[in-house]
């Protein structure tokens, strides 16, 4: 299957300010999370993808085409910007239908599609009210509805979960998951890492305008060899277990919490450690009850990367 997005040494400068700097990456089909703290260059990257701005240097191809001012490509893209972007005097329905008209859909088709898209984001009941009376979350839903209403092949969402309550977030994430399952490519940016981790393992990490990492979370974590992996083990006899682990060559540090019955181990080779621990527990006991990698998650990976 062809790549959804290919960027080569992509850069965008705003005068002296670097928005994005020499980003080279390839994004494949499916759902991909674009992560990074505020000011990382996520929005600049997304604007380059949807053809809002031209790169200062390098190039980007989206669905095999250059995006800037590419009207043919725009039909295949759906974009949900971070900004409010909604006219307060229009109803949600009018707003989505109007944007569909800009795509060239006829009146009846626009109305039908607007209704369906708003239904998908659970806005059917409120869609004929003016957006001025909407909550922040409802406006966000309308923005998402306009991005999916023309059934694009690639949906680009800039911080789409902002302003949504937990239930709303869950619904939108479910919708993105459904779209991904249906064969739509989704690129979703967020600075809230765990939300994206729930949605997809494929991530692109940006920081200060540069590409920090790309791949699945476990892949990226494995590459961070300078940071030992932390493993928490709950055991009936933590002190004896710690004593058995200390001589292992890949173990860098062992901390015992006797009261909690827990041993925290830092290891340079997590896979080997897990194999050996399984064998040790089977042979000598120690009453091992649970085993957990505490810094293999996205949050920890990100912290290590930006350190």
């Amino acid at each position: 299957m062809t790549d959804v997005l290919v960027a080569r040494e992509l850069g965008r400068y705003y005068g002296q300010v670097v928005g994005l700097n020499e980003v080279s990456l390839t994004i494949g089909p499916g759902v991909t999370g674009l992560l990074g703290p505020n000011g990382a260059g996520k929005s600049t990257f997304l604007k380059l993808i949807v053809g809002e701005i031209q790169p200062t240097r390098g190039e980007v191809a989206v669905l095999g085409e250059r995006p800037f001012a590419n009207q043919r490509l725009f039909r295949r893209l759906g974009f949900c910007p971070q900004q409010d972007a909604v006219y307060e005097t229009m109803t949600g329905f009018e707003f989505v239908a109007f944007l569909l008209r800009l795509h060239g859909y006829g009146r009846a088709e626009s109305r039908e599609r607007a209704e369906r898209a708003l239904g998908r984001v659970r806005m059917t009941e409120s869609m004929h009210r003016r957006t001025g009376g909407y909550s922040k979350g409802m406006r966000q839903r309308v923005r998402i509805a306009q991005a999916i209403a023309h059934d694009p092949e690639l949906i680009v969402l800039d911080e789409p979960l902002n302003g949504l309550d937990p239930l709303g977030r869950r619904e939108i994430l479910d919708l993105m998951r459904e779209l991904g399952d249906a064969g739509v490519h989704v690129l979703i940016s967020s600075h809230v890492l765990h939300e994206v981790q729930d949605l997809t393992e494929e991530i692109v990490l940006l920081h200060r305008g540069r590409l920090l990492a790309q791949g699945t979370v476990p892949e990226v974590r494995r590459l961070l060899t300078s940071f030992p992996r932390k493993v928490e083990i709950e055991a009936l006899d933590p002190r004896r277990l710690a004593g058995a682990l200390v001589p292992w060559e890949d173990v860098r540090a062992v901390r015992i919490d006797q009261d909690a019955g827990r041993v925290t181990v830092e290891t340079a080779d997590a896979d080997r450690f897990h194999r050996r621990l399984t064998a040790l527990a089977a042979r000598d006991g120690f009453g091992v009850r649970s085993l957990e990698s505490v810094d293999a998650g996205l949050e920890a990976v990100f912290d290590y990367l930006v350190e």
């Binding site: 705003y14 089909p29 499916g30 604007k47 949807v50 053809g51 809002e52 701005i53 001012a69 009207q71 043919r72 725009f74 039909r75 893209l77 974009f79 910007p81 971070q82 900004q83 409010d84 972007a85 909604v86 006219y87 005097t89 229009m90 009018e94 109007f98 944007l99 008209r101 800009l102 795509h103 060239g104 859909y105 006829g106 088709e109 998908r120 003016r130 306009q146 023309h150 059934d151 459904e178 779209l179 991904g180 399952d181 249906a182 064969g183 739509v184």
Partner: protein
């Protein structure tokens, strides 16, 4: 493993419209959005509406009085019919010119009110991000906004003039107004068209530079006041400097377009100068708008 779900994801099978008139939905949406607030409409269009009705009635009354004079005047009255009719037609034309001239001020209010936010608010809200990720060009975007603001300007200045022309044509005996002064209709369109283009360009230009509608409102009015004031002050040095004021230029153009003698002798500059100043202002405004729209996503 990807799978397809046609109920959720439905690819469009029909024919999308060609790109030619992509600005029309923007224009229609702009008008629809602006007309949702009724109070500004009421305030801005009450006077033009009343003026149109009054002028229409006056024009109707003039022709009715002329008819009566002819019918009670017998042969003598019939002989002077053509002379009277020509005089009335001229009077009616004068009234249409006056209506056009007065209504341009209300048109300025309407254009400024409805046009100030068009670019400024789009940028503030980020709505342009939605437009430019769709198959419309920046020219479509500009045309959509320009038509929107021009529409509201035309409602104040062009439509009243044309309505009165229409009334004059219908009520004049034997369509005499249309036959003798029919070109007044075209002159009305030309004069009000220039005014609408000028004011729309200025207001949209200020809107493209401002970050909020309020600032654009102040800026647009400020431009007209300063421009008028500057022309007035500099004319104390040399009367020709009055041409700096676009209001004075429009007055000069009015005299030229409608072929009327203005007893106000201060307009010592030529029509060519007036056209140059107005054309120059429009051009500069359009260039600024083009530059700002080109960088809209950057300056947002």
């Amino acid at each position: 493993m990807a799978r397809t779900n046609t109920e959720l994801y439905r690819r469009y099978e029909g024919e999308l419209r060609p790109n030619a008139l992509r600005f029309l939905p923007l224009f229609l949406a702009g008008v629809r959005t602006a007309t949702k607030k009724k109070i500004p409409l009421l305030v801005l269009y009450a006077v033009p509406t009343i003026a149109t009705i009054v002028y229409s009635f006056v024009v109707y009354a003039k022709y009715a009085a002329e008819d009566m004079a002819v019918s009670i005047g017998g042969i003598e009255g019939m002989m002077s019919m053509f002379a009277q009719r020509a005089m009335v037609n001229l009077e009616v034309k004068g009234q249409i010119v006056e209506l056009n001239h007065v209504m341009r001020l209300f048109s300025l209010l309407a254009v400024t009110w409805f046009g100030s936010g068009l670019f400024a608010e789009d940028r503030r809200l980020g709505a342009h991000l939605l437009y430019f990720s769709r198959p419309i060009t920046r020219l479509d975007y500009f045309l959509g906004k320009f038509l929107t603001v021009s529409f509201f300007g035309a409602l104040s200045v062009m439509v009243p003039g044309l309505v009165v022309c229409l009334i004059a044509s219908w009520t004049s005996p034997d369509w005499s107004f249309l036959k003798e002064e029919g070109d007044t209709i075209l002159r009305t369109i030309l004069y009000s068209g220039i005014w609408i283009t000028l004011t729309s360009s200025i207001v949209l230009c200020v809107s493209s530079l401002a970050s909020r509608k309020t600032f654009a409102l102040v800026g647009a009015f400020g431009f007209f006041v300063l421009n008028f004031g500057l022309g007035g002050v500099l004319s104390l040095v040399d009367r020709r400097y009055l041409a700096i004021s676009v209001m004075m230029d429009m007055r000069k153009l009015r005299n030229w377009i409608f072929e009327i003698d203005d007893d106000w002798r201060d307009l010592v500059f030529s029509e060519a100068v007036a056209v140059s100043v107005i054309g120059g202002v429009i051009m500069v405004c359009l260039l600024i708008i083009a530059a700002r729209l080109r960088k809209l996503e950057v300056v947002a």
